[in-house]
Subunit: 443 residues, 2 copies
């Protein structure tokens, strides 16, 4: 009869305890994957990999016995030896091996040079072998930083009294209308995959005042660009009792400051592996949509083409303008035209052609869409009627307004998009663990 | 031109600052939803609701002017007044109103008595009006506690060096075979919704040693029971460099201790609203499957019917046995028969009819399934062949083993199931914000 008492020692893959200065001269045991081996004849450098980084182990002499003589790349091993200061080794410490035990054997040599600083393979090749390619330290660092962004989002909002929710991804109808939805049969009923938690998070504002969700969203858009995915992780929040939509901009600004501070505090290794420069945010300028359009048109001597939305090229130009004018990596573009915003967007009472909404551009690319929502039942019904929209399937959403909702608004951030921009990655697929696009459904 | 400096004051719905003893006698402003009104003639009690609870506001005198005379249930209001100690009011403080501003008007009176302690409506009625029903304090407390469980899961694992991952929910093939999958067309390719992140979390052990994910999973099972949902939130972890599968039991035990400690520390209000008794975990007994079967059969004088799995009734009896024998709300049932475990389950070398796996029962119901996995490529291929399974679509999963994986294992916890058992709820739908079952696809 066994009992699990919850006593747990993380002895194995804690390389960090071996790197401590006072560990030098001591005997130590640890475990890891063999990342690479450099055989120098009389001496071999056996580089072990764990979640914490690389540990240089040294096998001396030729006539080794047992498992120590059979080490090769791709094995999982448990090793023992004496720690010795070595300035050239990672973290200034190496392990002089006295014993090794092979825990697991690969059946074939690695197909990618994961032990190299840069693997020098195409994005396509990397994605085809994704779980292997990610064993490269720089490839995996991307997702450690992504974890930090996600943690920062949650921790900040939890501290601000937001409640985390989990809303269904299969539903009878979508939040924002019928286009670009993945459809499925749900026990012989027509169903769709959620393209956003919009309706749910709004409904939950009536319950918890402030809510957030981090979860997958699904867009059946037939695009093949460097900045779109068909499934991505959306970080959403929604909050009640707004004075104006600028409250949302303030909240997001404070949130980003907090997220980047967390990265700086706890993800230094990964930031330096990828040479990431964290943006310094003191304040973020808010530029009205019309003004932004005009500025870009004037600065680049090009006519305004699509008057209701920003083209990717324009986003880039506005980003450059914000950097040059205010030294800001971020810029809020506010008051988007009603025409391009969903029915629930609150119109500007001073100009109903515009909405009390915004996008946040980060280094010239949209990473957030947000805004104040209509909270008045009559106004919402009027808007639906004006747009000729069918309310079928929206009954419970509309009921929330019928029975009273506070003024509210919120936003959504694409986690992969944010990661991509922070890392100055060329393609969003680099920032998605297992990307889904029109042609990629595996691994 | 505006700038968002990230300065943010949570002045409105912080009832907590008004409840402080030293606030008595001071003028204060706040905002909330009108939860209920008790009109006593000369005086009315206007109960405000925010995320932090209820605030008793008092309107004195009859001839009120302006918005103060028009208060009604379901409105969002901003109010001002003087705080006064009142032992009968929630938190011993009430707000004597001098002014009110109506921020939002309902279009109809609430269809449910959300202001009552117990609403006295059926589960079906509650689910049909879910976002309204959740405005009741006890209904919503369920999901605050659920948030706490989820936070506790993440915070513990983050502290243990686990990396959070986000894996795709649309895929070409499922982790555990072809049954019970929701199917969809993905740009004219056949695709399925993930019934678990199993393959992905295992693959990522080769990258980060320890990973976890909290996300939706989808099961097209045609069941209609009080303990199953067709979409639920799965909390999964997977860890490398195990000595034995008991390491997983230890890790889960420590995790549950940490999760309940967080609830005790930060969710006291909700626990007492729902009269929840937190289980005290010193250690959790581990009972072998065969032994558990035998015990139940003997204790209840009933023959062993299905020898390869536990029936719900048996789970209940084992739970009772664990409570009576060890005073434990939890019990690990270990060494499940190979027959009922997936191909990747590691068999017990001492008895290949059994696996190095377990379920965790909480008050007589399964809340976790876990175990050690096969990490050797040859052994995995042999098992697949023995089961006559097709490896198509598993190429990248199998490649991870071909190129070397550490010994590893992991587990999955159903968040709704765990919440249900903690709250001693009769039906899992009570513990799902917007449940999905065979007949329920909305709201």
């Amino acid at each position: 009869m066994e009992f699990a008492a919850g006593v747990w020692e993380t002895k194995d893959v804690e390389f960090a305890r071996l790197w401590k200065e006072e560990a030098a001269g001591q005997e130590a045991e640890t475990a890891g994957m063999i990342h690479s081996i450099r055989d120098m004849g009389e001496i071999s450098f056996v580089i072990l990999r764990s979640r914490q980084g690389l540990l240089q182990a040294v096998r001396e002499g030729a006539g080794q016995q047992g498992d120590l003589s059979r080490l090769k790349e791709g094995q999982a091993v448990r090793v023992r030896g004496v720690l010795k200061k070595e300035p050239k080794a990672p973290h200034g410490m190496e392990l002089r091996l006295s014993d090794a035990r092979i825990l697991s054997e690969p059946a074939a040599p690695l197909p990618l040079p994961v032990g190299k600083w840069k693997m020098g393979i195409s994005l396509e090749a990397s994605l085809d072998h994704r779980p292997i390619a990610l064993r490269n330290l720089r490839e995996r660092a991307v997702f450690k930083i992504q974890e930090g962004l996600c943690r920062g989002f949650r921790e900040f909002l939890t501290g601000q009294g937001f409640t985390e929710i989990h809303t269904p991804k299969i539903g009878a109808r979508s939040a924002e209308g019928g286009a670009n939805l993945f459809k499925l049969s749900y026990f012989h009923h027509p169903a769709v995959l959620a393209q956003s938690p919009q309706f749910y998070k709004q409904m939950m504002v009536g319950v918890f005042d402030r809510v957030f969700e981090v979860g997958p969203v699904f867009r059946a858009e037939k695009h093949s660009t460097r900045r779109h995915l068909n499934e991505y992780t959306s970080m959403d929040f929604e909050m009640g009792f707004l004075d104006s939509f600028y409250d949302l901009c303030q909240m997001e600004t404070a949130m980003l400051q907090s997220m980047f501070a967390l990265l700086e505090r706890e993800y230094g290794t990964e930031l330096s592996l990828l040479d990431v420069r964290l943006p310094k945010i003191t304040s973020i300028p808010c530029l009205r949509f019309d003004e932004a359009k005009r500025l870009v048109s004037e600065a680049c001597h090009r006519p305004i083409r699509s008057p209701y939305d920003l083209e990717p090229e324009e986003e880039g130009l506005i980003g450059t303008y914000a950097k040059e004018t205010w030294d800001s990596d971020f810029v809020f573009v506010t008051h988007y035209p009603s025409k391009k915003r969903p029915f629930y967007a609150m119109e500007d009472p001073e100009n109903t052609q515009a909405t009390l909404s915004f996008d946040l551009l980060f280094r010239g690319m949209e990473v957030t869409t947000g805004g104040q929502r209509i909270h008045d039942y009559g106004m919402l019904m009027e808007k639906l009627e004006k747009r000729g929209m069918d309310t079928e399937g929206m009954e419970e959403y509309l009921d929330c307004f019928r029975y009273g909702m506070p003024p509210h608004g919120g936003l959504g951030i694409g986690l992969e998009r944010l990661t991509m921009q922070l890392l100055s990655a060329e393609n969003i697929r680099q920032a998605s663990l297992f990307p889904r696009d029109m042609t990629r459904l595996k691994p």
